[in-house]
């Protein structure tokens, strides 16, 4: 519960900060739209684990947006795969709802004093569904596959970047060595294992195992009908906590409207809603009877990355001006109906690294105009558009097709920019084309969404100057030697308090350097049939945690006959 208050308090203080900023003197430009303080959203951390008495039995019907491309845990790359695999294969360790590591297949983790070698002990009773024990040989096999350059294990590769060696010490213990210490290394062991004996002599990428994973978790695969469904049943060999449902059926339903109807018809128990369907659900009496809507914050946020290499955005004053021209408080009110939080840096407020004492830059068009003047961007030719050295301040603002919210944010930003003499042309690109431009660093500005799969707050891969696109993921090529130094220091700092302090200084620097417009952390909206109980939300959402969906259960009276 403590967490809930913390989160709600943060939301309020943020909105307060944004509002306060507006009371500062505003120059000759225009006054911002009148401020109405939104009612604090009634959402936050939800924990029903102690409500009611969980009953075993029944079938849970969940939705997948798309077809899993594989059920090989090492090769997994998209959300549908992770959602299914969570039931079938346990990780060595998992995050719980408070983002603390809890044991899964492993029972112990020892770190050497130099922080380079990790010794892991597997549970003695960990077993594959075919009766083979889960051994250190499986772990060695899995880790060697992850670090194999020919294997696209994109989810796991980053934390194994400085991998040196792995060896089995005995049947249950193995040791992984790295070439450099890394403060967030323990996250590498939120790691699934593959059964070595099943892959013997198989081509890893084409193995039949990839569509028929061997379970070591609470459920096992019964069937996978391409583009239709994935069905699981309880794995009776699993020694740990039993799942409450007898079976889990994932229905693959790409269309949101169809999925909403299946939810109302009782053929789905759970469905993530888009904003249109959320409004529809709020007005729909049938929805109120059968279902409920959960709103909660996770670690996702959206931002508009600016290409720091472009002459338009190479000056931090010009970038800061862009941030100060986006009225984020009105985005929270209008676009999100209050269920979003303004952010001041590259994390969501619930990230362990986020510093509430770094308030966001204010929405202040007059001050932004002054900053642009200072940076040398003035309308010298009287055409209404600012220019410098003969180049007008005009750029393409890229957004991926289907990102409705991103486009609306871009439109608000473009409108404010136009008022101070900056032209932003919104360009919608199909996803693959969009990603190609972003990865290559071939853009001026682009709307992006950050989606967190783990709570690792390490900004190094995304904001360090050594990681500039196209070879790295610092897409806008933010480069500030002081920021680089802080990021490097945070990676090596073992003391959590000092690490937080270092990241706090980085946070403040990034806010003022404004390499991107950090917009908001918006609430997730997931609808459930009322019969489903025992839900727990976390900053990683409903799914990516332990026990997460494993703790769900259904009221017996509405249980479907088998």
């Amino acid at each position: 519960m403590k967490r809930a208050f913390w989160a709600a308090g943060l939301a309020l203080c943020f909105l307060g900060a944004a509002c306060r900023a507006k009371r500062e003197p505003v120059g000759a430009v225009r006054t911002p739209s009148p401020t109405v303080r939104p009612a604090p959203p009634a959402l936050g951390f939800i924990d029903e684990s102690s409500q009611g008495t969980a009953v075993d039995g029944g079938v849970l019907h969940r939705r997948l947006f798309g077809e899993p491309t594989t059920l090989n845990a090492v090769l997994q790359s998209s959300a549908p795969e992770a959602q299914v695999l969570q039931y079938v294969q346990r990780n060595l360790f998992d995050f719980d709802a408070r983002l603390e590591l809890v044991p899964g297949l492993a029972e112990g983790l020892e770190v050497s004093p130099d922080g380079l070698s990790y010794t892991i002990t597997l549970r003695a009773d960990a077993v594959w569904e075919d009766g083979w024990p889960v051994t250190s040989a499986d772990a060695v096999f899995t880790i060697r596959k992850i670090v194999d350059p020919k294997i696209p294990a994109n989810v796991f590769k980053p934390v194994f970047e400085e991998f040196a060696s792995v060896e089995a010490l005995d049947g249950r213990r193995f040791q992984v060595r790295f070439s450099r210490p890394y403060a967030f290394r323990s996250m590498a062991f939120v790691l699934p294992l593959l059964p070595e004996h099943r892959f013997a002599g198989e081509n890893f990428l084409k193995s039949k195992q990839n569509r028929a994973p061997l379970a070591n978790g609470p459920y096992r695969l019964v069937s996978w009908k391409t583009q239709e469904s994935v069905e699981l049943e309880r794995n009776e060999k699993y020694p740990g906590r039993r799942g409450h449902f007898d079976r889990i059926v994932f229905r693959i339903v790409p269309d949101n409207t169809t999925a909403y109807r299946l939810l109302l018809a009782g053929e789905l128990d759970e469905d993530q809603l888009d904003s249109g369907l959320k409004d529809r659900a709020a007005r729909d009496p049938a929805f109120a009877v059968c279902c409920r809507l959960l709103e909660f914050y996770n670690l996702d946020y959206n931002y508009v990355v600016l290409n720091n290499r472009s002459p338009l955005f190479s000056d931090p004053r010009a970038r800061r001006a862009v941030t100060m021209l986006l009225d984020r408080a009105s985005i929270v009110r209008g676009l999100y109906k209050g269920s979003a939080r303004i952010i001041s840096g590259p994390w969501a407020p619930d990230s362990p690294a986020y510093q509430a004492r770094v308030p966001p830059l204010p929405f202040d068009p007059a001050a932004a105009a002054l900053l642009l003047d200072e940076a040398g961007w003035k309308d010298t030719d009287g055409d209404g558009v600012r220019d410098r050295d003969g180049r007008p301040f005009a750029f393409d603002l890229l957004v991926s097709a289907g990102s409705e919210v991103g486009r609306q944010i871009d439109e608000m930003l473009a409108a404010e920019l136009a008022r101070v003499g900056v032209t932003a042309r919104i360009r919608t690109l199909e996803w693959a084309a969009f990603v190609e431009k972003i990865d290559a660093g071939d853009f001026e500005a682009a709307s992006l969404a950050w989606s967190a799969v783990d709570p690792n707050p390490d900004p190094y891969f995304y904001w360090h100057s050594s990681q500039c696109s196209p070879s790295g993921l610092n897409n806008g090529c933010y480069a500030n030697p002081e920021a680089d130094r802080l990021m490097e220091a945070a990676r090596l700092e073992k003391d959590p308090a000092r690490r937080k302090e270092i990241l706090g200084r980085f946070h403040r620097l990034v806010r003022d350097d404004a390499p991107a417009v950090f917009v908001v952390n918006a609430a997730q909206k997931v609808a459930f049939r009322r019969r489903v109980r025992g839900l727990t939300t976390s900053p990683l959402g409903l799914y990516g945690i332990w026990p997460g969906p494993l703790a769900w259960w259904a009221e017996p009276e509405t249980m479907k006959a088998p």
């Binding site: 990428l205 790295g472 993921l473």
Partner: protein
């Protein structure tokens, strides 16, 4: 006739080759590249990993070399393997094919089976009440977008009346035997209806105008004069002539059997080729896109050839002209 067919078959080879070149070029020139992952990717591939993938799939080779390698494999009937799940492309296509064939085959069958009698009755007495009323209804049907019709049908038959299932190809625990067939047909009903009515409207109007024109032709009047009944004159003589454009049209409709319908398959969560095609395009899964495009080209050429042969067989003017 045989020479005509042979010549057409020979011509199909360069045509197919040309299509393959164009599709291949378009695909590689289009922005975006394989391995970028979808919008729901858990983590983006690093540049190093993406480079490794390009190397493994030979995407770093010059385009002509890539094309030669691909066309060489296709000539040996090897469609390659998917970039996405590394399964053989043929396996993925064969998995989706039956679903699309069932859906579009039934839709085409019903469209023709209903359109021809409708057209003959309407064309038999032009400007009658039936002709005008059916004309108005068919035009309305023809203009109605399928996604909208799909939602309306779902609301009425699946949500309100609960007569038909909302989506999918079969119930979770599909019963065996006759009951299983019934279950599958129930699941087919709504999507087939959505895919039928547009074609139905179009073909019915085509038949209607052909019959309306033919009913005053000399040979129909002569048939009547020889004592044929009104019905016989219409169904035996007028219809046969009115069917010529329908046969040509059939050649154009047949490829739809395989191309699938992206929208309807999405709304009804139908695991067919349309969804496979769309998913593959979004993921830039080159081998699957190329295979499906080629398949579509083969079927289109084949169907056009078949309909031309059929027309030639039915119409002596074409046959003699072609042979001579």
């Amino acid at each position: 006739m045989t020479a005509y067919i042979l010549r057409r078959l020979l011509w199909a080879v360069p045509t197919l080759f040309g299509i393959a070149v164009v599709v291949f070029l378009l695909l590689h020139m289009a922005p975006g590249s394989p391995g970028a992952g979808g919008a729901d990717s858990l983590r983006r591939a690093s540049a190093k990993a993406a480079e490794e993938m390009r190397r493994q799939y030979g995407l770093d080779r010059p385009l002509p070399e890539q094309f030669a390698a691909w066309i060489g494999r296709v000539a040996r009937l090897d469609l390659g393997e998917s970039f996405v799940d590394h399964r053989p492309v043929s396996e993925r296509i064969l998995e989706a094919l039956p679903h699309t064939l069932a859906l579009n085959g039934l839709a085409l069958f019903f469209a023709l089976a209903l359109a021809i009698p409708l057209g003959v009755v309407a064309g038999g007495s032009p400007e009658s009440v039936f002709d005008r009323a059916s004309g108005a209804v068919l035009f309305a049907m023809y203009s109605m977008p399928t996604f909208w019709a799909a939602l309306l049908l779902q609301t009425l038959f699946a949500v309100r009346l609960r007569w038909l299932p909302l989506y999918g190809t079969a119930a979770d625990a599909a019963p065996a035997g006759l009951a299983g067939l019934q279950d599958r047909l129930a699941h087919l009903a709504l999507p087939v209806t959505c895919l039928t009515y547009g074609t139905l409207a179009f073909v019915a109007r085509l038949v209607r105008s052909g019959v309306a024109e033919a009913r005053t032709a000399d040979y129909v009047i002569a048939a009547r004069a020889r004592g044929a009944s009104r019905g016989q004159a219409l169904w035996r003589h007028a219809l046969r002539n009115a069917l010529l454009p329908v046969i040509t049209l059939f050649g154009l409709l047949l490829p739809a059997l395989l191309s699938g319908s992206v929208i309807i398959e999405r709304i009804f969560a139908w695991p067919g080729l349309g969804r496979l095609y769309l998913d593959s395009i979004l993921a830039r899964d080159y081998p699957v896109i190329l295979a499906l495009s080629l398949l579509s080209a083969v079927v289109t050429l084949g169907a056009t050839l078949l309909s031309d042969i059929a027309v030639a067989a039915v119409d002596p003017r074409v046959r003699d002209g072609a042979a001579g």
